[in-house]
Every structure is written in structure tokens, then in C-alpha cells.
């Protein structure tokens, strides 16, 4: 859920300013205000401007980027709706499912972000068809543009878990008994319950009613005996996999990516029930200065140089068609573009209307 997948890759710890503290109505003082036309203060997953990615964007859009520490999508949205939140950052990004409501506000005219001037973002046309439904718009005006996407699946140690095995290529791998005592779960209500719901065959997991939720709760409580521990941060998950405490777990991209870079034999499964996909949209707070430069950055993020480097550098995928253009079929499959091409089954991480109940059920599972 909010403790989400958009953490940075493990390039150089000095480059990261993330921390796991609270979401909410915070205001982050002390960030330098943008100089005229040149510097942008942005709030997005730091991995998206990590390593060479930042330079690519800065060069193409002729800007300088100041990325603030990213905590979670929920936090980004809370900052936007907080008093004074519409003027603190020049560009923000968060999970589309958390963003839609707060960005648009209750009715027309209550939007917290500027309508995107599509003339300034010609690459908008490059947004892949799969993601057109993620565009946040109202009355013909676009407010949020999908820029990046990713997916969660099952991560496993391929030295200990056979890769080409039907059992492995399923969410059941982290629920059923085969690897009992060596399984890890992500300590979050939204994703785990979604995964369980998919595994149990629910067609629309985000629309579970209370009875079905309770049923899933019981299932999770029954399977908890197979779990070694829950983890809350990606680093924790990496540690657990690398040290051998667990051999399979719920798997966000950065965990797999960081471990692979360190030559650990960790890879992800393409769950037959569908991996959980998510999209992050970018938007421009309405009272921020340098709107033109913000548009330029948005455009650059959908452009070829950035989009094609996004996966190799961070493991995340670009919502722009230009991202996958020059990749071989094999590379596309590996990065996960099979999802957009329809060859890999996925289910979007949609927002349930009764999230509080989901959290309650998860608390119940944890305290059982």
C-alpha cells in the first residue's frame, strides 16, 4: 500500500535520502526555492532520478532537480492536500490509485494541481495504450500523467526453489506449505490481501465485501504458520533473502534488483494468477512556480533517453512506448514489458473503498 514499491535501487547509499517515518499532513521546510526557470523541487520515488537518470532529465529539460526524501505514495498525497501543500513542490509523483481522488478534489474547480498543458508535453502521445486508463482527467483536461509503472510478484532464491515449476509460478508459493518456515511476507494489508485474493480466485479483489475479507483473513491466519517473519522495509527483505532466513517472499522490484546486482540468485516469478501491477502518475501542484520547467521535466520523463534507461538503472518500467522500443523480445520479457504486451498476466493494484477494514483484517492476522 503506502509502504510501496517505489524505493530506490541500491546504487550508492549516499544518493538516497529516504526514510520510513510517517505519512500525513507534514510540511517539509527548508528546501531551496526554485531559482527562476532553473531548479525544480520534486517529490517522487528517489530511484526515478537516481544515478544517470537525473542527468538525463536535467540535460533534456534544461533544469536542475532537487529531489526530496520520498517516504510513500500516501505521504506524497498527504503533503499535497496539507495546508500550503500546493505550492511546495514543482512536480510530484505517486501511485495513481492514491492520487486520483485527492488530486481532483471533490468537484470541478477543487483540483489541487494544474491542468497539464499538453502542448508543452508532446511526449504525452507516447503513453502506452495500456495506461491510458490511468490518466487522471476531468472535463477534458488532464491533471495526472502516468510516467512509470511496476509490479509485485513472488521473489525466490533460484538455487533452492525450482524456477520452471508450476508451484513456483504462482502466489501459492508464499502461502502454501511446501516452503514452510522459509517464507517471508510483506507487512502491509493492501498488497498481501490482494495477493491472497488473487490466489483464492477472486475476480475483483478490490471489491471484496466484508464476508470475503474475513474469509481471506482466516486463510492468512491459517497459513501464517509457514511464515518465518514479516518485513517492513525493502532492505529487510534483501537481508532476509541474502542471509538465507527465507527463500521466497512477496516481491517488489527493487529488492530483486538490488540482490541481483550483488550477484545473489534471486529472481521473480510470473504468477499465473497475475502479478500485481501499479502505475505512478506525475502531476504539477497548482500553486508552484516554474510550471513551464515542470512541464519540460514531465515531457523528458516520457521521452526516449529517459524511458529507455529507466529499467536498466532502476528496474522500474516506463509508461511511455519509447521505453520498450529498442529492447529485444527477451529483454522485454525479463523487464516485465510482457505485462503491457498482454503476454504476462497481471492485475492492477486497485484501491479498495473500505481500506480501513482491510487494515483491520491484517491487524487481526498479525495478532493471531
Amino acid at each position: 500500500m503506502s509502504r510501496d514499491q517505489s524505493r530506490s535501487g541500491g546504487v550508492d547509499r549516499r544518493e538516497f535520502l529516504k526514510w520510513s517515518a510517517a505519512a500525513g499532513l507534514g510540511t517539509f521546510g527548508g528546501l531551496a526555492q526554485a531559482q527562476a526557470g532553473a531548479t525544480l523541487d520534486v517529490l517522487l520515488a528517489n530511484a526515478l532520478v537516481g544515478g544517470p537518470l537525473k542527468g538525463i532529465l536535467e540535460k533534456e529539460a534544461n533544469i536542475k532537480i532537487n529531489d526530496a526524501p520520498f517516504q510513500s505514495s500516501t505521504d506524497v498525497v498527504s503533503r499535497l492536500v496539507a495546508p500550503g501543500g500546493t505550492g511546495r513542490f514543482n512536480l510530484m509523483m505517486s501511485h495513481s490509485i492514491f492520487s486520483r481522488g485527492p488530486i481532483l478534489g471533490e468537484k470541478a474547480g477543487a483540483e489541487k494541481v494544474s491542468a497539464v498543458d499538453l502542448k508543452r508535453v508532446p511526449n504525452f502521445a507516447q503513453v502506452a495504450d495500456t495506461f491510458k486508463s490511468e490518466i487522471i482527467d476531468r472535463d477534458g483536461k488532464v491533471y495526472g500523467v502516468p510516467v512509470m509503472w511496476g509490479y509485485d510478484s513472488v521473489l525466490f532464491n533460484k538455487d533452492q526453489v525450482p524456477e520452471n515449476d508450476a508451484y513456483t509460478q504462482s502466489w501459492g508459493c508464499i502461502f502454501e506449505d511446501k516452503y514452510a518456515g522459509k517464507i517471508g511476507w510483506f507487512d502491509t494489508a493492501h498488497q498481501m490481501i490482494m495477493a491472497a485474493a488473487l490466489y483464492l480466485g477472486k475476480a475483483k479483489p478490490e471489491q471484496l465485501d466484508q464476508n470475503e475479507l474475513n474469509e481471506i483473513g482466516k486463510f492468512l491466519i491459517a497459513k501464517k504458520k509457514n511464515v518465518r517473519t514479516l518485513w517492513t522495509s525493502f532492505a529487510q527483505a534483501e537481508n532476509l533473502l541474502a542471509s538465507g532466513e527465507i527463500i521466497c517472499t512477496f516481491g517488489p522490484i527493487p529488492v530483486r534488483y538490488n540482490l541481483q546486482k550483488k550477484n545473489f540468485p534471486i529472481t521473480n516469478a510470473w504468477c499465473k494468477e497475475g502479478v500485481l501491477s501499479f502505475v505512478q502518475t506525475a502531476y504539477i501542484p497548482k500553486d508552484s512556480k516554474n510550471q513551464e520547467a515542470a512541464h519540460a521535466m514531465m515531457n523528458a520523463m516520457l521521452g526516449k533517453s529517459y524511458a529507455s534507461q529507466l529499467s536498466p538503472v532502476s528496474g522500474y518500467l516506463s509508461a511511455s512506448k519509447l521505453g520498450a522500443q529498442d529492447l529485444s523480445a527477451d529483454e522485454r520479457k525479463r523487464w516485465g514489458y510482457g505485462i503491457t504486451e498482454g503476454t504476462t498476466r497481471h492485475y492492477p493494484l486497485r484501491m479498495p473503498p473500505n481500506l480501513t477494514n482491510w487494515i483491520e483484517v491484517w491487524s487481526r492476522v498479525k495478532s493471531a
Binding site: M1, S2, R3, S20, A21, A22, A23, G24, L25, S72, T74, S78, V81, A82, G101, P102, G105, E106, G181, W185, D187, T188, A189, K224, V227, R228, T229, L230, T232, N239, S243, G244, E245, L355, T356, I359, E360, S363, R364, K366, S367, A368
Partner: protein, 294 residues
């Protein structure tokens, strides 16, 4: 004479003003926010942020959903057991320290403090490579041939939480007990045994009662600290390692359900305060915190 007495009286009332700065600070940064949080607990969380519409929905959820009461009870239980364990572990050491003299005493006290000068985070984390499947203890056991497979149950359960908590809190328990035992005049113990008391009787009748203020002080601190534990249960407690602090945190970190988080916090503070008041009533506030008469 009367003039001097009035002088003194007015000096005294002026002197009372000295408490104002501290109270003011606490009013702004501790008590005020607590009052404010109580207000927040009656507000409403909407998809678009916090609205000041009043509602008792948060408290209603706490009352009706059994998981909160269960976790609260579990937290209190863990806190009490931790306190008792810490007491058992620390009391003999406090006795040991109080009996030392001179250079050995200073050295022993410093050695007690030393591990607490690494960071709390490090002190908790270190139990992972100690107790884990590939950890130190398992490696030793395997190496010595005592077991042929690593032991799983050292970590990621309630026992590991106790180990972690007692380890980080033992100083808070040892120190006050040591301080109150240190004031103990050895002549008293000698007198007791001169009068024919066995060491056990001397302990029960002389040492133990005199160390009680320190004991209560230490127990209070450890209990309060354990009630609010957050990192340790999350890190070491495994799939069921959840204490009330974690539940509160997830309302703010994962859900932006501030009213519920606020309500849970108020409930925790209220329960903890109730415990404290109980202790104060039974023992007298002076004894708990002042450590000596008057």
C-alpha cells in the same frame, strides 16, 4: 522578627515561580499536543484529508473490533514479563556492584554503561546475526555437534522479543537499584548477622526493603518503555510480533487514518497512566521517585 518572616514568605512565593519555565515547556511540547491529539481523535478521515467534523467513529472501532483489545492486552503482558525478567536479571548485578569498592567498582560500573553507548538501533539489530538460522549461536551449536540442523526457534517469536527488550533496558533497571543499595550501610548487614540472622534473612529483612525504592523506580521505567516498544517487536518478533506501538504506527504510516491513530494513542496513554496511578497509590509517589525519605 516578623519582618524577617514576611520577607521569607514573600521570597518563597517568588521562589515558586521557578517551576514556571519547566511547566511552560511541558505545556507547549508535551501536554498541549496530548490535548490536541485528543481533539484529532474525534475528527474524521476522508479521502481528501482530515476534516474537523466531529465523530466518535474512531473510539467505536476500537471498542468493537476485538483485535485492538487483544493487542493491548498482549502489549501489557509483554511489558510486565519484560519488567520482571529485567528485574530478575538486574537485581543480583546491582547487589554485586554495590558490594565492590574503589577502582573495581568504578570499572564495573563503566563496563555496565559501555554497551549502552552503541546506538539502540544497533543493539537491537545485533540479535539477528546472533539468533538467526546462520547466526552465531547456531554456528556454535552446529560446530560443536550438539545439533545437526540449525535451530529455528531462537528468533522471530515472543522469546526473541524478550531477549531484545531486556537487553536494551537492563541499564534502566540496574542503575536505580544499584544506587539505592549503594546507600546501604554495610554496618546494618553486619549488625543483622551479629544478631544471628542467616544471610537469607539478612537479605529479606535488611537489604530487600531498603532497595525497594530503586526497584520500583527501575520497574516503572522499564514498564513504561516496554509498553511503547516499536522497533524490537517488529524486528525480532516474527509473524505475530506486533505490539500496540506498531498498531498505532500503521495508522499513521500506512493508512493516514489519523483519528484512529490518535484514538489508539490516547487509549494507550490512558491505560499506562492508570497503571502508574495504581503504583503511586500503592506505594506513595515519594518512595517511587525520590528513592529515599523526604
Amino acid at each position: 522578627m516578623n519582618g524577617a518572616a514576611t520577607e521569607r514568605a514573600s521570597r518563597r512565593s517568588r521562589g515558586a515561580l521557578l517551576v514556571v519555565p519547566a511547566l511552560l515547556w511541558l505545556a507547549v511540547f508535551a501536554i498541549g499536543p496530548l490535548v490536541f491529539l485528543t481533539c484529532v481523535s474525534f475528527w474524521t478521515a476522508t479521502a481528501f484529508g482530515l476534516s474537523t467534523d466531529l465523530t466518535t467513529k474512531a473510539y467505536a472501532s476500537i471498542a468493537t473490533e476485538p483485535v485492538y483489545a487483544r493487542v493491548l492486552w498482549q502489549t501489557l503482558r509483554i511489558a510486565i514479563v519484560t519488567t520482571l525478567l529485567a528485574l530478575l536479571v538486574s537485581y543480583p548485578l546491582a547487589m554485586f556492584l554495590a558490594r565492590l569498592r574503589g577502582g573495581a567498582k568504578t570499572a564495573a560500573v563503566v563496563l555496565l554503561f559501555l554497551p549502552f553507548w552503541t546506538s539502540y538501533v544497533v543493539r537491537t539489530f545485533v540479535w539477528l546475526p546472533m539468533l538467526g538460522r546462520n547466526g552465531l549461536i547456531n554456528q556454535l551449536l552446529l560446530g560443536m555437534g550438539i545439533v545437526d540442523k540449525p535451530i529455528d526457534w531462537l528468533l522471530y517469536n515472543e522469546g526473541a522479543v524478550y531477549v531484545g527488550l531486556v537487553y536494551v533496558y537492563t541499564l534502566y533497571m540496574t542503575l536505580p537499584i544499584y544506587l539505592s543499595l549503594d546507600r546501604l550501610d554495610p554496618a546494618l548487614v553486619e549488625a543483622a548477622s551479629d544478631l544471628g540472622a542467616s544471610p537469607l534473612q539478612a537479605f529479606r529483612r535488611v537489604i530487600l526493603p531498603l532497595s525497594l525504592p530503586g526497584v520500583w523506580s527501575g520497574c516503572t521505567m522499564v514498564f513504561l518503555l516496554a509498553c511503547g516498544a516499536y522497533v524490537t517487536p517488529q524486528l525480532l518478533g516474527g509473524p505475530s510480533g506486533q505490539m500496540f506501538g506498531n498498531v498505532i504506527a500503521s495508522q499513521f504510516l500506512n493508512a493516514t487514518n489519523w483519528p484512529l491513530g490518535a484514538a489508539l494513542s490516547i487509549v494507550l496513554v490512558a491505560v499506562v497512566m492508570a497503571f502508574m496511578l495504581l503504583a503511586i497509590r500503592k506505594l506513595g509517589l515519594q518512595r517511587i521517585f525520590m528513592g529515599e525519605r523526604g
